[in-house]
Structures are given as C-alpha cells and as structure tokens.
C-alpha cells in the first residue's frame, strides 16, 4: 500500500463519517449530534408525521427553546400568542417523538450553541448540525459543525444523515501577540473585514496559529461562531490541551478511563504536516485593533479609531450603490469617524458573546462605575448555567450598581423576533454577530463590537476606544 496522503482535520472527520459515497451523489454524512430549537423544527416534525416515521436516534438529538422566548418573567406563560404556540409545538413534538428538551425553567436551558459545549455534548471529532447558521460555533472543539435548513433538519431527524458535498478548505493562520484591549471578537471582525461577508463562501475554515492557540475555549467559540458571517460553511480549531481541560468533567463528556481514551483519540485529529488546503491566509495579531462595524453586513467593519471609507475609496464600483444604501440606513456619512458617536442601547448577549468569560470581561470594566444616562443596557446570559454562575460570582451586583439590566437566557435582541427589540432609528452597540437591516428590530441600527468595547460604550454612552480605559 502506498503511504497515506496527509489530511487536514476537516478531511479526517469528514471521511470518518461518510456512510455512503456513491457516484453522482453527494456524500451521505453521519451526524453525531443534532441540536434543535423551536423556530426551525416544527415543519420538520410534521414531515416525519406525514411519512409515518420516528426520529432515527433520539439519543443523538437535543432540543432547547431560545430564539422566541421572553427574557423576563420566564416562569409565566409566554404572552405573545404565536411565540407561545411555537414553543408549545416544540414541547409537544419533543414529547411525542421522545426527544430530550431543555425547556424554559430547566437548569440546562439556553441558547443552543451555548448549552451544547457547556454540557459536554459537543466534543472533538464529531459532526454536528442544527437548523441555525451559527452552529459553526461548535467547531471550536475540533469538530465539523454547520447550520442547515428545515428540510435538512427533517432528513437528520429521519435518518441521522445529511447529503452533502465536501466543501473546499481554507486555512486562516494568525500569529503573534494580541494587543491591549483586543479580544477574540476583534480577531474575527478583523478577518471578515479583510475578506468580506462572502469571502469564504463554499469553504470550511480552519483557524490556526499561535494567536488562536493562546485563546480560551470560550474565546475560540466566538471566532468559530462568526465563520458563517464571511459565508463559510463552518470553521474549526484543532483540539489541544485547552480543549481537553475544558471537556473534562462536563456532564455528557466521557468520564474516568473513558475520558483518557477519548483524549488519545482526539489527539489524532489535528491536521497532518503537509496537509493541503485550497486557500491559505495569514494575518499578524499585532495588526489587529479593537474593531467595530459601521454598515449593514459584518464585512463592513473597521478599527474603532478609523473612519468609514468614502464612496471613492471602494475597490469595486458596483458596490457603491449598496454601500450608499447601507450608510443611509445607518444614518452615517461616508468618510466620517465613529469614535464619540452616541449610542442608545448596549446589548451584551447572543451565542457569540454571552458566556461567563464575556460577562466577566464586561464586569471587569464596569465594576464601581455607572452607565451613561443616554443608554439602556441589557445583559442577557447565554444559558441558565451562565446565569447561575454570574450570580454565584456576584456579577449581578456589579451590573445592578452600574444600572445594567440582567435578564434571563435566550437569543433576546440578537434577532428581533422575541419581545426584546431595539426601537426604530436607535443605535445599538451589540456583542452579537449580525448588523443586517432590521436584525435587532425594524429599522434598528447595529454596531457590532467586542464585549469590552460594548462595556466601555455603556459607561461613556458613545463609541469609545477601550484602550483609553484599561
């Protein structure tokens, strides 16, 4: 036999999950873990009913309610009739098909991409899908995780497989030391600003380099989370000691001797020397500064100290119309700076930045300070467990004294679907992942930034360079 060709981690995991590869067909890829939530699953369960079939393997399926839930008074019935109906439908479907549901009030409830990792359901080497584009978050563990549509949710419920063509691979390598005030959210906003909101479409990204290695698991999740914002199918980071330490002792992680065995297996995952990628990009961590977006897609980002480009500075002429429309929507002038721009809302939450480390970062900045009068500040923990931990550490007191509102877990104002919305025309500095028109509520205006930058803006009431503060 000839020597095995060196493989990327992505190829190793993919190849280990192909149930069937047939000429002229996409691969039938086995899915280890399927996460579901109330918004993208009802039609899929209906499909199963119509076909008269069961869920293929309920042990591989986990459900929670997150998108469409209120973040206040979660013990009361949901006020809005359609939202209530959607959550009730999830309950009924999970009960009827025997799927585990972490419902409102359950100690494990939370945003689907936050609870999977914290429960140890998400593990290195796995394939994972969810009817939600930010499923890419789970790639931080060295796994293949991607978002799917509802027809595909039905396929996975019915067969535990999905039909997929293997995407191309891209390596993004970041070396060097991160500067003061720069956190993982800035890294990913920087990358997207460089390669655009569609720059990685058709690719699966692997993030490497010592700057990535130096990050905690939670910080890595923030990076993988936003892979989709540059069009990538998903993003992953090879597992290492940081990963294993994080996994150890988690509720659904392998335990005892099983854990050690698993670690041995996980150690085989990283890409082989000489593995080939379709595209390789390299950046220097020292070039990355605190970032902010000014437009209506996540690729429209800049250093917080920069000014917005002018129309003439755009590289592509045919982008000019969209660019002007975008700035019109944002109520901003081409060529102007954002520093000092007053904001009305600060949203600290979402599957990008609502883990305990994010809340700690925010608390570290605001401790002993008060929010500015012109802003309303919402802190929405990503899960019940994060909320509990925040209470245990007394972060709630820090927030309370600062005049922040700490609410209960859910997607909240990340997507303008539930009760939490940014009002029309208002500016919100947000730790979430999308600044699309109307994303946080009809005609709302979003500046995406790191939890540090959001925290400082809460204190000053305006877009501020966090480095002046720490």
């Amino acid at each position: 036999m000839s020597e095995q060709k060196p493989k990327t981690i992505f190829e190793k995991i993919w190849d280990a999950h192909v149930v069937k590869r047939a000429e002229g067909y996409p691969d039938a890829l086995f899915i280890d873990r399927h996460y579901i939530h109330e918004v993208t699953s009802p039609q899929a369960f209906d499909g199963l009913r119509k076909r008269g079939i069961k869920v293929f393997n309920v042990n591989r399926t986990t459900a929670t309610a997150d998108h469409n839930v209120p973040t206040k008074d979660q013990h009361l019935p949901i006020k809005e009739a359609l939202s209530r109906h959607q959550v009730e439908t999830l309950r009924k479907n999970c009960a009827a098909f025997g799927v585990e549901l972490y419902d409102l009030g359950h100690p494990f409830q939370g945003i689907v991409h936050i609870i999977g990792p914290e429960l140890g359901l998400t593990q290195p080497g796995m394939t994972m899908v969810c009817g939600d584009s930010h499923t890419s978050t789970h790639g931080a563990f060295g796994s293949i995780a991607f978002g799917i549509g509802t027809s595909e949710v039905e396929q996975v419920l019915a067969t535990q497989c999905i039909l997929q063509y293997k995407p191309k691979t891209m390596k993004i390598e970041i070396n060097g030391k991160l500067g003061k005030g720069v956190v993982s959210k800035d890294i990913i906003l920087y990358i997207i600003s460089k390669i655009s909101a569609s720059g990685a479409t058709g690719f699966f990204v692997e993030y490497t380099g010592d700057a990535i290695r130096s990050l905690s698991m939670e910080a890595r999740m923030t990076i993988c989370n936003m892979s989709i914002e540059m069009g990538a199918r998903g993003g992953l980071i090879a597992p290492d000691e940081t990963t294993f330490n994080y996994m150890k002792g988690r509720k659904f992680a392998p335990q005892g001797a099983e854990f050690d065995k698993a670690v041995e297996k996980w150690k085989q995952l990283p890409s082989d020397a000489g593995a080939v990628y379709d595209v390789v990009l390299k950046y220097d961590a020292a070039d990355i500064e605190p970032m902010i977006t000014y437009g209506t897609n996540p690729g429209m980002g800049m250093k917080v100290t920069d000014r917005i480009p002018t129309v003439e500075e755009l590289k592509e002429i045919n982008e000019q119309v969209s660019f002007k429309k975008s700035l019109d929507y944002m109520g901003l002038e081409p060529g102007s700076a954002l520093l000092g721009k007053a904001v009305d809302y600060v949203f600290i939450g979402s599957c990008t930045n609502a883990r305990i480390e994010d809340l700690r970062l925010v608390a570290s900045i605001v401790k002993g300070k008060k929010k500015a009068n012109n802003v309303e500040v919402w802190v929405i923990p990503g899960s019940k467990q994060v909320e509990e931990q925040a209470l245990k550490e007394g972060l709630n007191k820090v927030f309370e004294e600062a005049g922040f509102e700490l609410r209960s877990p859910g997607c909240s104002a990340c997507l303008g679907m539930n009760e939490d919305k940014v009002p029309p025309g208002k500016y919100c500095i947000s730790t979430s992942n999308r600044n699309f028109e109307g994303r946080q509520g009809p005609r709302s205006r979003t500046f995406l930034a790191s939890p540090l930058s959001a925290a400082v803006a809460a204190i000053t009431g305006k877009v501020t360079d966090v480095r002046e503060y720490i």
């Binding site: 918004v39 039609q43 994303r439």
Partner: protein, 193 residues
Amino acid sequence: MKDKFTILRSTAVPLPAENIDTDQIIPARFLKATTREGFGDNLFRDWRYTPADEPISDFVLNNVSFSGKILVAGKNFGCGSSREHAAWAIYDYGFRVVVSSFFADIFKNNALNNAVLPVVVTDKFLQSLLETLQQNPQTEVIVDLVNQQISFDGKLEKFEINAYKKECLINGYDDIDYLLSLNKEIREFDLAH
C-alpha cells in the same frame, strides 16, 4: 415531493441590491408559523411596506410593471441566517427561479430543497439582464434546466448545477427519499461508530 422543473418561460422581477440577506427576505418576527405556507405575504416585508403597512411604491414588488416567476438579484443573495423560511417565502410568493451572480451556500441548498432553482450567471450577464428588465419589464426570460441555459433577448448563458440536484428537480425527488433507502447501512454505521 415537489413540483417538477424542466423549462420555465416568464417575465422577471429585477432587484439589483447586493448581499440581500435572509433577514431582508423574511424578517425574524415572521418566523413564528409552524407550517410552510403563507410566508409569501411577508417576503421582503420591510422593503415592501411601511411600518404602518402601507405599500412602499418604489419597491419593485409593488410596481405593477413587474411580475413573473423569476427574481433577478445582485451578488451574494441569501447570506445570513439558515432559515428555510426565506426559500418558502420566495416559493410562496410565486417565484420558481432566482438569478444572481453569487449565492450563499445554505440558501442555495434550501432553495433546491424547495423547488426553487438558483441560477448562477456571470456578473456581466446579470448586469445586462437587470438593465434590460428595467428598460423593458415585458422581456421574456427562458430558464432551461435540462440544457442548463438561461436566455433573454437573444443573449444566452450556460449555468452550472450539480448533476444530482438537477435530477431531483427534474423528477421532483427529495434528498430524504434517497437517505431513507440507506436505512440499513446507517443503522450499522451508528452501531459501529
């Protein structure tokens, strides 16, 4: 499963904006339904209606000159959320084809799974089609899936489509039919895995 698709002749609706994300196609607050129907009414809701639900007259779907089963849109159509509701809304409104020079991955899959054909054309062809439609809204566009070509006004371009997905569209098959046929192999894999 779905409708079968071979050839479509229709007028078309131009929407030149780039990076049209799925939050524009169907805003999140309309995702509360638990069935697949009725999303067409809210297609491009916030571009189509004022907050008081008045039609916005200069939006193309409110312009009576334009109609048809083909939507022609700018680059990077369908980026953002994985919500299949975007494809359902497009289908429910009556579109069967979306033409653009670039589609986001998840949207493309979702469209194909819902009998909506995404046709990828070159930037040049797209520009010329958009301009022609704006000058003459009655222009007939022909999308021929079997021969993988799109044409209007004597201009023609070939387009790529995955052979398997093409089969599915022409015959109205679903991915799930194929996967269900693998049941035994999948069971064995699950046990051994």
